[in-house]
Symmetry: C2
Subunit: 310 residues, 2 copies
């Protein structure tokens, strides 16, 4: 029997982990043997979700083993966000909600990207299309992914489809959307035990903009000032990564989940592009407040790409 | 109201033209104003289809006008097969059945690729998902696209989904699948009036393999020997295109639709890769018979890409 592995992006977030778990379950229900995997550490928010619904984290993998026949990517398609040996594997499916970039296959595949706020919303749809029933646990995982990606339905990335799915899933999961959602986001925003290195890597994604490499790390917080109490240590870790990866820009985004603003820190040769992209001035400590900006995908990556390419 | 343009690849074939027409119609039915377009001349096979069902060809465009808000690609995703100013447009949807390569967007989009034999099979599915009824004409167009891409359900690219869709659509279109299909293929295989330039450009696609540019042109014929009566003229046109486009390889594929074999002609510095890819020897006139090979996508592109990259 052929072996299928399902995983999301590096620096996994709740959507990446939950989508891999639930899609592997759906595959198994449909008679296709599939295993979920993860490419990095489980963050606090996701751990809260797994504990709440009593589900085990997928196994960590560093590379795809040679005995794996098929690879399914969820919640990402850009190769630099994927497993290191992505070029050597056979990708048969992609389920995603991001822009398409730096992705290619040698053969036709099932590629499904939809412009919604969360991969979990697409997976909820796929259960219906296949007449498959979601267990309470799986509904809880998908719900958590939507809450995480849309900041409790408040992000500009949130679509009517996400909102509808979230209410449906809360019902099946037997939780109160608001109460559960805020508890979950707060669990993720508890950064008291995180080192500076944790902060800059726990949800970091690398992008190619023009011909430059850009890394954007994002953390959610209840109090962003508290994070920047260790700004010197954060900068030191960022400088190291800039040098290791030859980045033109490293943007650290601290998002206030109550105010829905982001306090960003920009380092690297191309940091001026942040001023250009958001029409702000970086202060003497290389920081700026981006009012109303909470979505890396919809509000940060697109504007920054423009600044790099226009 | 925003303006949406729907088109398939350059050197349009029946699937590209019919999918653009039918998808524009579906969009309009769903309340989204959309116009179909084409990027090249209508070939004889497609003209037979349009005449048979009394449908007008989409308008020819050289570039996407500035007043177009959204672009929908059908039957292709690789930018080099698309409109010249593809980098300047906003792509909101892709409906395709090819491998994904050399495609990127700045924003999330609806990208739907399925590993089936024909874009029309996906469009047939989308009508059902949206509860939309196919007219006799549109069913005829989708059916013709499937017959064309699968060589009357005989190509190795043909899946169970294509076969099922073809029978369903033949019923709605009110035609006999076999009789109509063979008439249509023969109309396309009538190359008596085509110049050598026509033959090498009428269904030509460009690919990037490793770091090389490769063009593959395919014609269907009832008698491939007749085509090669003008081999000298064909070679002259190919040499010109190789030089103009700086191709490493130009592969001309003459496919016998009755025998289901292909007689190919390879020119360019990298023509040895054809021998490597198919384990054949090119004869003194740079030709080889590829037994059982009829599918550019499934049997030619993948093998050639391996030869270029491994």
């Amino acid at each position: 029997m052929s072996k299928t592995l399902i995983f999301g992006h590096k620096s996994p977030d709740t959507d990446t982990i939950c989508s891999a778990l639930v899609y592997a379950d759906l595959k198994n229900t449909l008679g296709v043997e599939a295993q979920p995997a993860r490419l990095g550490e489980i963050n606090k928010e996701t751990q809260f979700v797994l504990d709440y619904f009593g589900v085990e984290a997928p196994a960590y993998i560093e590379n795809v083993d040679e005995d794996v026949d098929n690879v399914v990517l969820v919640d990402h398609n850009e190769f630099q966000q994927s497993v290191d040996n992505i070029h050597d594997v056979r990708i048969t499916e992609v389920i995603d909600h991001h822009k398409v970039s730096n992705f290619e296959t040698r053969e036709p595949l099932y590629f499904r990207a939809e412009p919604v706020g969360c991969t979990a919303t697409i997976l909820n749809r796929m259960h219906k299309e296949n007449g498959a029933i979601l267990s309470r646990e799986n509904a809880g995982l998908l719900l958590s992914a939507i809450i995480s990606d849309t900041l409790l339905l408040k992000s500009p990335t949130c679509t009517a489809a996400d909102t509808e799915a979230a209410h449906e899933l809360a019902e099946i999961a037997g939780v109160n959307l608001e109460t559960y959602g805020l508890d979950m986001l707060k669990a993720g925003a508890d950064l008291s035990e995180n080192s500076a290195l944790d902060l800059v890597t726990m949800d970091a994604k690398e992008f190619t903009m023009g011909d430059k490499k850009v890394q954007i790390a994002q953390v959610n917080a209840v109090d962003t000032n508290q994070i920047y109490e260790s700004q010197a240590a954060i900068e030191k870790e960022m400088e190291q990564i800039i040098s290791d990866k030859d980045l033109a820009l490293f943007l650290f985004v601290a998002t206030d989940i109550l105010e829905n603003d982001s306090d960003v820190l920009a380092l690297g040769n191309a940091k001026d592009n942040v001023e250009k992209a958001f029409d702000v001035s970086l202060d003497s400590s290389n920081r700026a407040l981006l009012k109303g900006v909470v979505s890396r995908k919809k509000q940060i990556v697109t504007n920054l790409t423009d600044a790099f390419t226009k």
